[in-house]
Amino acid sequence: MANVQEGPVTKTDVVRAMWRHIITLQWSWNYERMQALGWLWSMLPILTKVYKDPEHLKAAMRRNINFFNTNPQVGSPAIFGAAVAMEQQENPDVADSIKVGLMGPFAGIGDSVQAILFRPILAVFAAALAMNGSMGGPLLFVAAGIFWIALMPWQFWLGYNQGTNLVQEVAGGGRIQRLTEGATIMGLVVIGGFVPSIMAGLTTPLKFARTLTVQGKATEKVVELQGILDQILPYMIPLLMVGFAFWLIKSRKMSPVKILLILTVLSFITAALHIL
């Protein structure tokens, strides 16, 4: 696992810093400096060992309470690991530049992996299970949380051992990009299938009577609109709804809350008119 460097800092200190970071980084998250205080508190086991002089220690702490914000589960442990290694080598400038330089790129990678690829696929799957009354739905989310936490120590040691190499690894990320692309495609296939399956309940009860003349006799026949729609395009109403919401976001630049209100009003009106 880890090759802890020589010096006053012991392996226990490094491990303690790692767990402080993994568990509490965001506990004091605030608008002003976001994850800054969590970062400092996690770094304290290292700083208090490296800087014996109180004034030097204060200077080091001031550096470590500067603004910091990135994805806490994907990225932050690696950045912190690299910074710990640099602080331990009394290389404060490098530690600071790793921190400032990597928080943006890692926030981008981490947020797209979790928010655009991982969570939606999991969520749609889990919701489908839960709709059918299965506890498997919420348990999938529990497993997801454990999965990401399990990857955090690994990221920390990667950052710790790689140090400044980490920066190059992230900068030249052709492999990461290809992986993201493959996962995007997987996501799109799944979403394409889930739109009709999740929203299958959206059908219209509208019927209309038609007079047909069969062998010279006029007969009344009730035609269900849904049947006709299904012949044209199955799941047409769900598709129209998603298309409408998408148009509101894309072309009208509306906020999610506004769209939510519009869709709610639309639902009540169509329900009252017995259209849906």
């Binding site: 568990i23 509490t24 506990w27 605030n30 608008y31 002003e32 400096r33 205080l37 304290l44 309470i65 914000n69 806490p72 979790q114 928010a115 655009i116 939606p120 696929i121 969520a123 889990a126 919701a127 489908a128 839960a130 709709m131 299965s134 506890m135 739905g137 919420p138 989310f141 529990v142 949380g145 290809r178 692309e181 493959g182 996962a183 495609i185 997987m186 996501g187 799109l188 296939v189 979403i191 299938g193 889930f194 999740i198 929203m199 709804m241 998603v242 409408f244 919401a245 998408f246 976001i249 999610p256 769209i259 939510l260 869709l263 709610t264 639902s267 009540f268 169509t270 329900a271 849906l276």
Partner: protein, 250 residues
């Protein structure tokens, strides 16, 4: 079912506190609407309504994420309150009654999320002062107590709503007219459209739309079950990646 006592209000408040703080760190995802719905359902004795409300809120939230610390509707608190009040109604109208509470609660709670994130600023200033004194214990205290504004901005509303709100909310639920129930049913089915649309907005649809159509036809025309579609997605994604890799390597 009768309203809830102070005991249940307290238990749900504690759960909401734990759920938000463990979501902050280490990131247990217990704040997910589906988990909160199921846990609340277990506590109040109606798991089914918890699962349904959690699932509906989850689908609404598909494309949402707290990018860079942005505020989004608080589906966690919405799921807890919606499940608690939906279970009070019980029976066939439980989901509709629960959603009628859950959706507005999720939106109103965004104000408290902003409050929690703002109040914690006091804590980092406290830590700044402790730092200048060289007071390591003080820094530790300010940091670890930073969870309190986060937890209480969820726990207090949950406590008050479940304890005091049962009466008024229940009265409302009991007299819910037919048109309102029907409206909520349709709303529940329509709202996932928002989640899907937000998600599509985040993805490079223009470039990759054929894959979306592929998924649709697998379900709509070929009747492939959802697990099958997920497997097809893995296969197609991997295939695309290896073909692209081969192309790059000449």
């Amino acid at each position: 079912m009768e309203g809830y006592g102070i005991g249940m209000a307290l238990i749900l408040a504690v759960w909401s506190y734990i759920a938000i703080v463990t979501t902050l760190g280490p990131g247990l995802w217990w704040g997910e609407a589906l988990i909160c719905g199921a846990v609340t359902g277990l506590l109040v004795g109606n798991v089914q309504v918890g699962l349904q409300i959690g699932a509906t809120l989850t689908l609404m939230s598909l494309g949402m994420w707290t990018y860079g610390g942005a505020t989004m509707p608080d589906f966690m608190t919405g799921a807890i309150l919606g499940t608690a009040f939906g279970a009070l109604k019980g029976g066939s109208g439980a989901l509709e009654a629960g959603l009628a509470v859950a959706v507005p609660a999720s939106i109103l709670m965004t104000q408290l999320d902003v409050l929690g994130r703002a109040v914690t600023t006091v804590f980092i200033h406290g830590a700044d002062r402790a730092l200048e004194r060289g007071d390591i214990k003080g820094i530790t205290r300010w940091h670890l107590l930073g969870q309190i504004p986060w937890g209480l901005t969820r726990a207090i509303p949950v406590f008050l709503a479940v304890w005091l709100g049962a009466g008024p909310v229940q009265n409302f639920i009991n007299v819910m007219p037919e048109w309102f129930m029907k409206g909520m049913t349709v709303t529940g089915m329509v709202l996932p459209a928002l989640g899907f649309a937000l998600l599509m907005n985040m993805l490079p649809i223009k470039k990759y739309w054929p894959f979306l159509v592929l998924g649709f036809l697998l379900f709509a025309y070929l009747k492939v079950p959802v697990t099958g579609i997920a497997l097809a997605g893995v296969a197609i994604g991997t295939l695309y990646m290896s073909l692209k890799g081969a192309e790059l390597n000449g």
